[in-house]
């Protein structure tokens, strides 16, 4: 890593998908790796089914917990169309990890608006690296659909320079004993996805 370079990851999705927990885990891992880290999110109304985002920024010394538009290197979208909502924050060479699970917004549910088509191919056309898979299906294989957030973490860990041992120990610390094995399995699913 270049001396003063600060890297930014954007987590995006819908309330209830475990986004804040996932961004907490990534921050713990970055801190364990000896780097400065800040993250920012907005609670409150977002918990009632709205959009949720979390900015994570890390490097030798981080000032702002919010990334500047056009500066983010990695987007992890927990829902397919949500990836499209935040593209102005991304660098042109950004990597995008997208869960292909669809959660309809109210207007789509009511039949009043379409759900965007060809999201993944659009992303692939405009960005260098796009990794897409259904994290919920993988999470179910790991034992519970709720571990989809950890599956996505596994995928992003491939793009980061943090030791596997750190990820393992942070995941162990982040869940009650009886859920650790399942979450480690989910993490591995993401690495292999």
């Amino acid at each position: 890593m270049v001396d003063n370079e600060v890297k930014s990851i954007l987590f995006a999705g819908v309330g209830g998908q475990g986004i804040l927990r996932a961004s907490d885990i990534i921050c713990e891992a970055i801190m364990e790796a000896g780097l400065d880290v800040k993250k920012s999110e907005v609670h409150g109304m977002a918990q009632r089914g709205g959009c949720v985002t979390s900015h994570v920024r890390y490097g030798k010394k981080v000032y702002s917990p919010l990334a500047e538009p056009g500066s983010i290197q990695t987007l992890i979208s927990f829902e397919k169309m949500e990836a499209l909502r935040y593209l102005k924050f991304l660098r042109k060479d950004a990597a995008i990890i997208v869960n292909t699970e669809e959660i309809y917004p109210p207007a789509v549910n009511m039949g009043n608006a379409p759900y965007p088509e060809d999201v993944v191919s659009f992303l692939k056309k405009h960005y260098g690296k796009v990794i897409s898979f259904n994290a919920v299906e993988l999470a179910q294989k790991a034992g519970n659909m709720k571990t989809a957030n950890v599956v996505l973490l596994g995928a992003v860990s491939n793009l980061m320079n943090i030791d596997q041992s750190i990820w393992q120990s942070v995941i162990k610390k982040s869940f009650p004993d009886k859920l650790v094995k399942m979450n480690l399995a989910a993490f591995q699913m993401g690495i292999d996805a």
Partner: protein, 587 residues
């Protein structure tokens, strides 16, 4: 030890490290987690007071007994507590008193965007403003030290971005609690009748002068001189944004935003050629600095409204008119927050809209019902306002408004500031109907206890107010208790009470669907029978997240274009849609 903490967790930790063991608050985003976290520390007393005014009075009492006391609230909570705050500024605090004001630039979850730095100047109370969690932990300690040293209440101002951003914090050994409580009699200082208040008023100005000297050497007002061409004066989170995009400029970062260090600011101004004042919301620093006769650039170019981010600061200073653009040009369907599946409020508002009434709303999850298709309420101003507004509208409309004016208010909000206005309704006798949405918790901020839940913040069992008895004691004779998920009973109760002369209250009682203690476990998900569904879309009018409508999948011979579906993964099984379906298609 290094840990990752939010600004709110850090404020709680810092207070604990400073030897504070007493705190009171009313929950409100973005401040709520401070007391929740503080209450977990060993040996503390922490309470949810019914409202912010009470919380401040409780902490004043504790401070007068010699405690270091902490009061916490969101920005608008300071309005509620303003009365005691302005006068405790005169009496001083004996022990120590710090008031945390958590402001919400961008109104992420608030009804206004007021800049509470103005309260510091208005009430002549010093104010510190941290920029991240590390500073939040340090500044709350400094705030208590200043309170003790100058016998003054002190404000700590945070904003949503500080409160809910996490950064690395180094924990320190907590100071030992020095229990110096006892009685200090001093009527001239603490009885604010005019004769005493006049002399305390003079003490306030003396304290102001002493603080102005103190701030000149306050170590958290930091000058960083590098490039002398451009200097930036800033405080709080905007410092981080500016530093991110312009690391080479010179900075004066103010840790204390009131009173200002005039000599230090003059000194900084003499070292740089051009000065920008970067602050969110009001030109609070800018106007004071301009009044010193120093030329600075501020709100001529920076926005007055909404929070900043690094991009805004860069674009304003570099005069970039075009921001970064997304390659995706189609419009994306928004995701407005919605009432949860199984939410009891949905049942109440669905029943209420059948009556064509004007509904005054209040602050809580139920405010979300104003949106289409429920369109459940037509006004919302502040905590507790619905009852007074319903009463006033009913009085103004006289006969025209009879049976047509309703106020809705949550249980926590009613106990916060609705009781006196309901007393007024009984006393001044209007025809409005008040509906208390009693979900047995403070749901919007995440299930906090209140005097109606039977538990305290510390998890102890407590006296549980009996709403029916309370309301009856206020002088309301017409009181009905209903279950809002029972549509038939709810509709007929509303109809009956609207028809009555004089004030009525309906208590719509059903615990919040997310409230674990109330055994609100979801029932089996409901299903739409595709053979019976006529595709009439009535169930969509509930705006329940699991219910959707799909085109084309109609039964043979049907004129309808599609039918409804229920997502079994998120359905709560509350049965509301089953009750509204005219074709018996949902079960």
């Amino acid at each position: 030890m290094k840990v990752l903490m939010s600004g709110n967790e850090a404020i709680a930790r810092g207070a604990y490290e400073a030897g504070v063991r007493f705190a009171a608050a009313y929950p409100g985003t973005p401040s709520t987690e401070i007391l929740e976290e503080f209450s977990k520390y060993e040996g503390v007393y922490a309470e949810w007071s019914p409202n912010e005014k009470v919380a401040v009075e409780v902490t004043i009492g504790a401070a007068l007994a010699g405690e270091k006391a902490l009061a916490v609230m969101k920005h608008v909570g300071v309005n509620v507590a303003a009365d005691p705050i302005f006068t405790v500024s005169y009496t001083g605090t004996n022990g120590a008193l710090v008031i945390v004001s958590a402001d919400d630039p961008s109104l992420h979850s608030s009804q206004n965007e007021q800049d509470n730095r103005n309260y510091a100047r208005f009430a002549k109370i010093p104010m510190l403003e941290p920029a991240d969690a590390r500073e939040a932990k340090e500044y709350i300690k400094l705030a208590f030290a200043i309170s003790e040293k100058f016998d003054t209440p002190v404000f700590l101002r945070s904003t949503t971005r500080v409160a809910h951003s996490k950064s690395v914090v180094t924990l320190a050994e907590p100071e030992k609690y020095k229990g110096k409580t006892g009685f200090t009699y001093n009527a001239e200082k603490y009885v604010m009748v005019p004769v005493n208040a006049r002399s305390q008023r003079v003490e306030v100005e003396k304290r102001q002068q002493a603080l102005k000297i103190f701030v000149e050497t306050f170590p958290e007002n930091k000058m960083e001189i590098s490039n002398p061409d451009v200097g930036i004066i800033t405080a709080g989170m905007p410092y981080n944004y500016a530093k991110e995009v312009f690391p080479d400029y010179s900075y004066l970062k103010l840790g204390m935003v009131y009173p200002l260090p005039e000599m230090l600011i003059r000194n900084f101004a003499s070292k740089v050629k051009k000065i920008y004042v970067i602050e969110e919301l009001d030109p609070f620093l800018e106007e004071q600095i301009k009044a010193m006769g120093i030329k600075v650039i501020g709100k001529e170019i920076f926005p007055y409204t909404l929070e900043f981010d690094p991009g805004i600061i860069r674009n304003v200073i570099e005069r970039n008119t075009e921001g970064t653009v997304s390659p995706y040009k189609e419009s994306l369907s928004p995701r407005p927050p919605n009432l949860c599946p199984g939410c009891p409020h949905r049942g109440l508002f669905y029943a209420l809209r059948k009556h064509k009434v004007y509904v005054h709303g209040d602050i809580g999850c139920y405010t979300l019902s104003y949106m289409k298709p429920l369109e459940g309420l037509h006004s919302c101003i502040c905590m507790g306002a619905s009852i007074g507004m319903a009463h006033g509208m009913s009085k103004a409309l006289k006969e025209k408004g009879k049976g047509k004016v309703v106020g809705v208010i949550g249980d926590s909000t009613f106990l916060h500031s609705g009781i006196t206005s309901l007393l007024n309704m009984a006393y001044n006798n209007s025809d409005a109907l008040i509906i208390i949405l009693d979900n047995n918790t403070t749901a919007m901020t995440g299930m906090q206890e209140h005097p109606g839940t039977g538990y305290t913040l510390m998890g102890k069992e407590a006296k549980k107010v009996n709403l029916k008895v309370l309301i009856s004691a206020l002088g309301i004779d017409n009181i009905k208790v209903i279950d809002p998920l029972d549509q038939k009973a709810t509709r007929s109760a509303i109809k009956e009470e609207l028809a009555k002369d004089g004030p009525s209250v309906i208590i719509a009682q059903r615990p919040c669907a997310l409230f674990k203690r109330a055994n609100t476990k979801a029932k089996p998900a409901l299903k739409v029978d595709p053979d019976k569904c006529e595709g009439c879309k009535v169930c969509l009018g509930l705006n329940c997240p699991p219910i959707s409508w799909k085109k084309g999948v109609t039964k043979e011979g049907s004129k309808r274009k599609g039918i409804s579906f229920i997502d079994e993964n998120i359905c709560n099984g509350c049965g509301l849609c089953e009750q509204v379906c005219k074709f018996g298609a949902i079960s």
